[in-house]
């Protein structure tokens, strides 16, 4: 049994990366995620790892691309404006089928916006933030423990599917301190990395990591292959937490920090005699569509709450089709815009 620690969410990400065997970090300072590079710049030298503070987020993601092409576990982290800069590299990694972990401790926008908690990067994260039509797996932790556990999962999923995986959290989850049980790395069976560049020895094939396909039909075939992979992810990797949904007449859906505030509001509603539950997507891509479908066999009211003007709600509505009514409550991110439980309780009362 591991000891219980009291750490910040960002530190939990860094600790989990080390436990997962990651020894290569490339990044650029930006609030509110700088605890991650600070932690790893201190710890990696002791572990024979490589830490580079790059000249930009663009360089960071491309260093990750290069390291990943050799088969090592590697990561980068940033916050929203920096993640925008990384989108070029993420698209190339998706096209080149390279694993890698990208942490977005998101902040408010658009533009320079502010440094407050935000969920306004949902679209960018789950809809293929760069050019060309692709998906990456997106994990949305809601606690320090999940920051740790999902970071390790991110490395495994990246290797299994040869894809970039994003951990999408906000500054609430990144900056708060909670108890953490630093679980050991899961004993996942991983595929052999038989595609890496290592120097072509006589008698072995030339290895090429690329996303350029100019031959007749090649790129279409490559895209079909990628999209078949996304279908497997949809089938096998969607994850969610269900909280008091069995008898619920209204189910809130929310991810990350907002889901925790919603839980408090749900307890207030239960005390007031209203049967309310929570469906919290843990994977934002693949979206837990099936969980929505199963739920709406009985529950006809979904209340989607986000710290933005409505992004995940589009996926919630697509998931339930006409089987349930989906209400939305959200606020654009900004100082003081994090909803309080009473505010969410009021929305429950209004839509119940």
């Amino acid at each position: 049994m591991s000891q219980r620690l009291f750490v910040k969410g960002n530190e939990a990400v860094a600790m989990a990366a080390i436990e997962a065997g990651c020894r290569y970090y490339f990044g650029y300072p930006i609030t509110p995620q700088s605890d991650i590079p600070e932690y790893l710049s201190r710890e990696f030298p002791k572990l024979n790892g490589e830490f580079i503070q790059a000249e930009s987020e663009i360089a960071s993601i491309n260093m990750l691309l290069g390291a990943s092409a050799t088969g090592v576990r590697a990561m980068t982290s940033s916050s929203s404006p920096g993640i925008s800069l990384k989108q070029e590299g993420i698209s190339y990694m998706a096209g080149s089928e390279l694993p890698g972990v990208i942490v977005n401790i998101s902040r408010s926008g658009p533009g320079l916006g502010g440094i407050d908690a935000s969920q306004a990067d949902y679209f960018q994260a789950v809809k293929g933030g760069g050019h060309g039509g692709y998906h990456i797996i997106v994990l949305a932790p809601a606690s320090v423990q999940e920051m740790y556990d999902l970071t390790m999962l991110a490395f495994d999923l990246a290797d299994i599917y040869r894809t970039p995986v994003m951990l999408l959290a906000d500054s609430v989850v990144g900056q708060m301190k909670e108890a953490l049980i630093p679980n050991p790395r899961p004993a996942t069976i991983l595929p052999e990395k038989d595609w890496v560049v290592r120097g072509r020895k006589e008698g072995t094939p030339q290895m090429i990591v690329k996303s350029l396909y100019l031959g007749d039909g090649e790129l279409e075939a490559h895209n079909w292959k990628l999209h078949a992979k996304y279908d497997v992810m949809r089938e096998k990797e969607s994850r969610q937490e269900l909280f008091m949904t069995d008898d619920a007449d209204l189910v809130i859906t929310a991810f990350g920090s907002v889901a925790r505030i919603a839980k408090t509001a749900i307890m207030m509603a239960r005390d007031a005699g209203m049967k309310v539950g929570l469906l919290r997507p843990i994977t934002l891509f693949p979206f837990p569509t099936r969980a929505f479908l199963e739920l709406t066999g009985r529950c006809k009211k979904i209340l989607d709450i986000e710290l933005n003007n409505g992004q995940m709600v589009e996926d919630a509505r697509l998931s339930v089709a006409r089987d349930a009514e989906v209400f939305f409550y959200g606020r654009p991110p900004g100082a003081g815009s994090l909803p309080v439980p009473e505010e969410i309780f009021e929305q429950i009362r209004k839509n119940y």
Binding site: Y24, S56, N62, A67, I208, K210
Partner: protein, 270 residues
Amino acid sequence: MQQVFHRPTGLKDVQTHFCPGCQHGTIHRLVAEAMDEYGVRERTIGVASVGCSVFLYAYFDVDVVEAPHGRATAVATGVKRARPDSFVFTYQGDGDLAAIGTAEIIHAANRGEDITVIFVNNTTYGMTGGQMAPTTLVGQKTSTSPYGRDRAKDGSPIRMAELLAQLGGVAFSARVAVNTPKNLMNAKKQIKMAFRYQVEGKGFSFIEALSSCPTAWGVNPIQANERVGGELIDYFPLGVFKDTADWKSTVGSAGSESAAGQSSFSGVRV
């Protein structure tokens, strides 16, 4: 019968897509010969860029990672840090390296990454149809400078080999050309020298190779070759701009950095 001239092991027996009179093929050969010289072909990882050099993997018989436009030295940094026993080179054109990739080349060079950069300067964006490059000469007409490059509006062409030589992390920087047998032999020598820096773990080495682009320049191959020997070399002089090696020493990559440049400030928590 003794064979005195043969294909370097690092080059495939294929026809290239390069235009007649283009000097990429010659430069490819010199790079492959240098690989053979040091026997590094089997541990070489090439990093391809975007432009006419994108098909590196089609001609070089080595493992290759394709980088986004301008990012080759960042990708190479990741490759080399993860696999320090490999021999890593990038092959980039002037638009890729000296325009969109300026931040990446400056900082990879300044960190003294133990890689070799082959920079092919033909004063134009060849692949996209001959647009103005950061190295286009003042007055040179291109498809996006139809009245000629205007120094007042477009700035002066960048001399990368000299610029990079200023940086502490750069161990070796030279400019070469392959327009005459004499220049070609010297280019071969300097590319080997650049490779030696990496082979001996002595830090960042940079070769700028002047090249012709008859297609984009709108001239025939002979005229293009004459332009290299004329106005190109006039503006981009050939030579070694930095050569820091003391081949007897076994450590240290940033040969010109003095201890005076080091801070002992320790004002941060550890």
